[in-house]
Every structure is written in structure tokens, then in C-alpha cells.
């Protein structure tokens, strides 16, 4: 199939059209990223008076540092948990709401609300709920014999940030799943119903496979969200603690660079993080996409 090409009479005009986007990308992405790559090979004092080239020192040190390797492991766990929970629940809610006729608008509005909440605020909300001395959830957990203390218990802290990060993302995933489900032709599900397939069977054999482009898209978006945007949640709640239990890669970049003022190592970490996400996205497009029904 040949796509239709628009031919501009003027040679310069098309470049002018894409210029704003290009400039924004250059200024806000390419240039800072180059700076990060450059300073990851340097050791500099915070004020920038002396800078020496140190080659791969920062990278070598990172991968020899057991704390950094632990942080990678934790990030993977966090990413899997948040993505699975937020996508799973969003799918469940979308399936439920798409069966409603009159009240679906109402539920959609309610379910989308949390998306308007900034990550920092989401973090604070959950921190309040789970606060060991004043939180309502921590208080209720006592009835089940759980002494909740996210200040000391690494698992508790991890659960806290997973809950906050997943809760916030459910809205986004929900909207896409709902839109995806509404575009599944009714004739298919009706035909299946006539053939005697129950709602559950209809969902698994018809709706879910047809949703796979949406699922795939959300998967990538969610991984990127977990890798970068959850920073605010951690900064507002656990600060990476206790004892680094919630120190995921993106937060470590911040704490080493902005609190520790170790620009070199922090840049090296952000380059690693960037490569990590690029690789992941590449793998997803290369292998996962093959199994997607478009």
C-alpha cells in the first residue's frame, strides 16, 4: 500500500513546520542528555571550578557497588508490581464500567479523578493513610495483628509506594482500556453470546485479544511512568528509606546528584537509567509487538 505524500512547493516550509518540535527536543532533551553523558565521564566539584576527565570510573564504581545493584533489583520489582496492579485493576474497572449503561459516565468521572492528583500529593495521601502513629489504615491493620511501621520495615515502605504509584496510574490505564473496549464491535460479542459464550468467556476470547494494542501501549507507558515519574511519590514519603529499601534508580539519581552534589556519579546513573529504558522499549517493540493483534 502506498501512503499519500503531500508535496510542498517550497523546500523550506516543511522544515519550518517541524522546527518548533525539533527545537524543543533539542533544547529540553538532546542537549541535557548530552551534558549528562559528558559529565558522567568527569569528576567535578559542585561549583564547577575544576573538572577532570575520569573515563569510566563512575560506571565501574556503580557496578561494583552492591547498593546500586540492589537498587536495580528493587526497581525491577517495583516496576513489575506497579504495572501489574495498576493495569490489572484498570482492566477490571473498565470491564465493569463498560457493562453499565446509564451510570457509566458517573463511574468514569470518579475513576478518572485520581489522575488529576500530582504524584507528590498522591504520595502524601497514602503516607497519611499509612502513617504509623496517625494513619487510619495503620490503625485498622492493628486489628489484624500487623504492627505497621513504614519508617523501619522495608517491606511496609515498599507496599506504601507501590500502592501510591499504582493508585495514581489506574485512572490513566482505565481510560485507555475503556476506550479500547468501546471500539470492540458489538456484533462480535453478540454473535458469541448467541453461540452460548458467557460474559467471562466473551471477555477472554474476544475483548481481551482485541485490546492487545492498548495493553501493549499501556505497558510501555507504565514502565516509563514507574521509571521516571514516581520520583515525586518517593521524595514525599520514604525518601528512599528505610535503609534504602525504596531507593529506586530514579530517586538515587536525585539523591546522589542533588543532595550529595556528586554530579559525576549521578550523571552516570541517569545515563544507565536512560539506556535501561531504551533497551526495554526496544525489546518490547521487537518481541512483544509481534504477538500483538492490530
Amino acid at each position: 500500500m502506498e501512503t499519500k505524500r503531500t508535496v510542498f512547493p517550497n523546500k523550506v516550509l516543511p522544515y519550518l513546520f517541524v522546527a518548533p518540535q525539533l527545537i524543543i527536543t533539542l533544547v529540553f532533551f538532546i542537549w541535557p542528555a548530552t551534558q549528562a553523558v559528558k559529565s558522567s565521564f568527569e569528576r567535578a566539584d559542585p561549583f564547577g571550578f575544576s573538572t577532570q576527565f575520569v573515563g569510566l570510573t563512575h560506571y565501574i564504581r556503580l557496578f561494583q557497588d552492591p547498593l546500586y545493584l540492589n537498587s536495580i533489583g528493587r526497581t525491577v520489582m517495583f516496576a513489575i508490581a506497579v504495572t501489574a496492579i495498576s493495569m490489572g485493576l484498570a482492566l477490571l474497572f473498565a470491564a465493569a464500567v463498560s457493562r453499565l449503561i446509564r451510570s457509566s459516565q458517573f463511574y468514569t468521572t470518579l475513576l478518572v479523578w485520581p489522575y488529576a492528583v500530582a504524584p507528590v500529593v498522591a504520595g502524601i495521601l497514602w503516607w497519611f493513610l499509612f502513617n504509623s502513629s496517625t494513619g487510619i489504615l495503620a490503625y485498622m491493620l492493628r486489628y489484624f495483628g500487623v504492627i505497621w511501621n513504614a519508617n523501619l520495615n522495608g517491606t511496609h515502605a515498599m507496599i506504601l509506594i507501590i500502592a501510591a504509584a499504582a493508585w495514581k496510574q489506574i485512572s490513566y490505564n482505565f481510560l485507555f482500556f475503556l476506550a479500547g473496549m468501546q471500539s470492540v464491535p458489538h456484533s462480535l460479542t453478540e454473535a458469541a453470546a448467541i453461540d452460548g459464550a458467557g460474559p467471562f468467556k466473551r471477555f477472554w476470547t474476544i475483548v481481551f485479544p482485541l485490546l492487545s494494542p492498548t495493553t501493549f501501549f499501556l505497558f510501555i507507558i507504565n514502565i516509563n511512568y514507574v521509571m521516571f515519574d514516581t520520583f515525586g511519590i518517593i521524595a514525599a514519603t520514604t525518601n528512599g528509606g528505610p535503609n534504602q529499601a525504596t531507593n529506586i534508580l530514579v530517586y538515587k539519581v536525585y539523591s546522589d546528584g542533588f543532595i550529595g552534589l556528586n554530579i559525576g556519579s549521578s550523571s552516570a546513573q541517569s545515563v544507565v537509567l536512560m539506556l535501561f529504558v531504551i533497551a526495554l522499549t526496544f525489546i518490547q517493540f521487537r518481541y512483544v509487538e509481534r504477538r500483538v493483534n492490530y
Binding site: P46, F47, N243, S255, I259, S265
Partner: protein, 443 residues
């Protein structure tokens, strides 16, 4: 008539002349990290200074917490947009001192710009933290505090303890707490801010006259190594973990510990250790009970303890790269700031230490300490003995990172993953790596 016209004309001319002069006032930018009530007090100081003369206008601006403000300052410096004065917390001192080209040391500023500046007017424990090895004062002490102990007098009375006697040793802390818990006067004995850092290792070492690091706690050079994994720290950390399990001690989180103060205010914990600058907050929030004040506890069997405590808080650094005429204004403002009246008013309103002897004496004359019992605990505690190499302060680069390491290792002790000695040893090892990194970056 003619005279009147003339007079009117000159007045008009004078007005015309003075109008641009008013705009030509030299602006002095002051970045600070004092939020809330403290920030209001700070703005008042700047306003009073501006009203007292007409050549300079001090423009204070809040730049976030200490860490954020330091990072902002560094970024601004790299962009050539730095303020004249910036407030930097005590643990940022090492970083600022190493940045020789960025800083205009206060002693030099005062020498160049002709103010009658006398470093000996300042309290030695305060200036000691901020002078170089030659005795030159590098930054201007502004808000300094030292940790003290607050206790709930009503809970003490209810537990059958003497409400007028503060615990003096860790042994007292343990027995008092036990008695308070057993009698049901409170659910927990005590809670403390900066358990792993400012209080639980830094002041602990100073009070027991033990070195925190080699080379005079880092004052002697960048190649200093940490030594806080001593027996006393091991003892306290082991005890704290034990007390945490027994409910005697309650951990409130890293750094200042957001959960500490509420536990004391609500009466859940009977004792609370934190900065003397928390005084105003404690008195405002502790309703329903009377607050007593005491010094930080020590281990009774250590000779010479308590030595003296060290300070925290922040100082004002002057940054390089501005015009001479502006520095004249900075010098004048810093002089104004350290006048006895301004200092005494700031000290009494906030609970920060008076940083000059004159301000302390003025507060005495004004009867402040008599009217506010316990308000002189902090100043007595930092002046208990002449500071030694181990108790005049700390100077390590990347100190904020080292504090983070200590917080983490302490959490590992409380959760039972490590013994106190393992955690302290590991903190020393990780801290030394951080110091070497700093040394390499600042050669």
C-alpha cells in the same frame, strides 16, 4: 515671596534628585531557608535594616529547605546569578569551604570594607565551627542551635518522679522511662530527632570528648577519616535498638524525624530530644502539660562527660562575583545583624543561640532567662567546658550524604538486620568512600 519660591524650588529639585536616588539604592540579595514563623522574623530583620538607612535594600527570598537552597545557589553560581548572601546549614560548611573561588570569606569582606569587625565578640563554640585552621572566620553565624532535652513534667509527676529533675544520664533515661511506662503516665519513654546523626553520633562524640574523625574532626584537611564507630556509639545504638523493642524509645524517622514531635506533643512519649530552636514549637504545641528542659544525657561512667555539645543551624556566606559597592552594603548589613539588640531579639523569639556574648549579656539584663526558665540550657550546654579538638565541631565534605548513610545504617540496627557495631563499621566504611570522592573532586 521670592524666598518661598526659592525654597519651594529647591525642595522640588531635592525631590527630583532624591527620587532617582531612591531607585539607585543598592540591592542586596539574601537567600534563606527559614519558613513559617522563623521566616517572618527574618523578613522583619531585613525590613528594620532597610528602614534604618537609605543606601541599601536587603531583599530576602526563601529558596526552600537547606539542601534545596544550597543546590539552587550552586546552580545560580554556575550561571553567574548568585545572590550576595546565602544561608547554608552547618553540614554544608565543608562543601562551601572547599569552594574557594565561590566564597568571599567574611573576615576578608570585613577587612576590605572597613567595618569594625571583631571576631572575638562571638561565642567561641559558635565561631569555632566556621573558622579555618588559621582562625579566620569564613561565614557569619546567624542561626545556631544545639540539641537539648524536653520533658513532660506532668507525666513525670504522675509516674512519681520529681518533675523538677531532668534525667542527666542514659541510665536515668532508661529507669525514668521504665517508671513512666509502668505507671501508665505515658506509653513511651522518649523520642529523639536526628537519632543517628546530629544527636546520636555527632553530639554524642562531642559530649564524651571522642573524635568523630581524624585530623581534628576534619578541620585539619580533606584526607580526614571517620572514626565514629567507637565504643560509646556502639553502646548507645545497641541500647536504642533494645529500647525500641521495649517501647522505651520510639523511632520517628530519618533526619529530624517527622513523627517525633507529634509523639511528644500528644503525650504519647514523655521525653523528646531536639534542637533548642524547637523550643517555640514545643511550647506552642504542648497543651495540657508543662514542659521541663534538660541537657542531653551522657553515659555516667565516662570521664569528663559531659564535655560540651556542638551546634547545628546555619550561617550566612557571602558569595564572590559582585561589585565592591554592593559588598559595602553586605558588610554593613552583617554588622547590623550581629548587633546585640538584633541578636538578642532573634534569640529570644526563636530559641536559636545568641551568637555574640553581647547578645547573651543583653538577654540576661533584660531578665529573659529569669522569666523563661530553661531557656539558657542550650547556651550553658555548649559552654560547659572549653571546646577540645573533639568538641568544636565537624568539617567533612559531602556531610549530607554521610548523614544519609548513618540514617540508613541505624535503620538496619533497629530492624535487627545488623548489630550496632556492624552498622557503625559499615557507616564508617561507606562514609570514608564519600570523603575520598570529595577529596578527589576538590584537589
Amino acid at each position: 515671596m521670592l524666598k518661598a519660591l526659592l525654597a519651594g524650588g529647591t525642595a522640588g529639585l531635592a525631590l527630583l534628585a532624591s527620587a532617582p536616588a531612591a531607585f539607585a539604592q543598592t540591592e542586596i540579595h539574601w537567600w534563606h531557608s527559614m519558613g513559617g514563623a522563623l521566616g517572618e522574623r527574618l523578613v522583619e530583620i531585613a525590613d528594620d535594616f532597610n528602614a534604618s538607612q537609605s543606601d541599601y535594600v536587603v531583599v530576602p527570598s526563601y529558596r526552600g529547605e537547606y539542601e534545596e537552597s544550597l543546590v539552587n545557589t550552586i546552580a545560580a553560581f554556575r550561571a553567574g546569578e548568585q545572590p550576595h548572601i546565602v544561608q547554608v546549614y552547618e553540614v554544608g560548611t565543608g562543601t562551601m569551604m572547599a569552594a574557594r573561588g565561590a566564597v568571599y570569606p567574611v573576615y576578608q569582606l570585613m577587612a576590605d570594607h572597613g567595618s569594625n569587625f571583631d571576631p572575638s565578640a562571638y561565642l567561641p563554640v559558635v565561631t569555632g565551627y566556621y573558622t579555618d585552621t588559621d582562625g579566620n572566620m569564613l561565614s557569619m553565624p546567624f542561626n545556631s542551635s544545639t540539641p537539648i532535652l524536653y520533658y513532660n513534667k506532668d507525666a513525670f509527676a504522675a509516674a512519681g518522679l520529681d518533675p523538677e529533675t531532668a534525667p542527666a544520664t542514659w541510665g536515668d533515661i532508661e529507669t525514668f522511662s521504665q517508671q513512666i511506662i509502668d505507671s501508665g503516665a505515658a506509653q513511651c519513654g522518649f523520642t529523639m530527632a536526628y537519632t543517628a546523626t546530629w544527636l546520636g553520633t555527632e553530639n554524642l562524640s562531642a559530649l564524651h570528648n571522642l573524635p568523630y574523625g581524624t585530623l581534628e574532626n576534619g578541620f585539619g584537611g580533606l584526607s580526614s577519616e571517620l572514626t565514629f564507630n567507637h565504643e560509646i556509639a556502639e553502646r548507645l545504638w545497641t541500647k536504642l535498638a533494645e529500647w525500641q523493642d521495649a517501647g522505651i524509645y520510639n523511632y520517628g524517622g530519618t533526619a529530624g524525624g517527622p513523627d517525633n514531635a507529634p509523639k511528644f506533643y500528644s503525650g504519647e512519649c514523655a521525653m523528646y530530644m531536639n534542637s533548642s530552636a524547637s523550643r517555640a514549637g514545643v511550647l506552642a504545641n504542648a497543651d495540657g502539660f508543662e514542659v521541663g528542659f534538660g541537657m542531653l544525657p551522657v553515659f555516667a561512667d565516662v570521664d569528663g562527660a559531659p564535655q560540651n555539645s556542638i551546634i547545628g543551624g546555619a550561617t550566612l556566606w557571602t558569595l564572590a562575583g559582585h561589585e565592591d559597592v554592593e559588598y559595602e552594603g553586605v558588610a554593613e548589613f552583617l554588622n547590623y545583624l550581629s548587633s546585640a539588640e538584633v541578636q538578642a531579639a532573634w534569640h529570644q523569639a526563636t530559641g536559636y543561640l545568641p551568637v555574640t556574648l553581647a547578645a547573651y549579656e543583653l538577654s540576661q539584663e533584660q531578665g529573659y532567662y529569669d522569666a523563661n526558665p530553661g531557656s539558657d540550657i542550650a547556651i550553658r550546654q555548649i559552654n560547659l567546658n572549653a571546646p577540645t579538638e573533639n568538641s568544636k565541631g565537624l568539617r567533612f565534605g559531602n556531610m549530607p550524604q554521610i548523614r544519609t548513610v548513618l540514617d540508613e545504617e541505624f535503620q538496619a540496627v533497629l530492624s535487627g538486620d545488623k548489630t550496632a557495631q556492624q552498622a557503625l563499621d559499615s557507616a564508617v566504611e561507606r562514609g570514608n568512600q564519600i570523603l575520598r570522592e570529595f577529596e578527589a573532586a576538590n584537589q
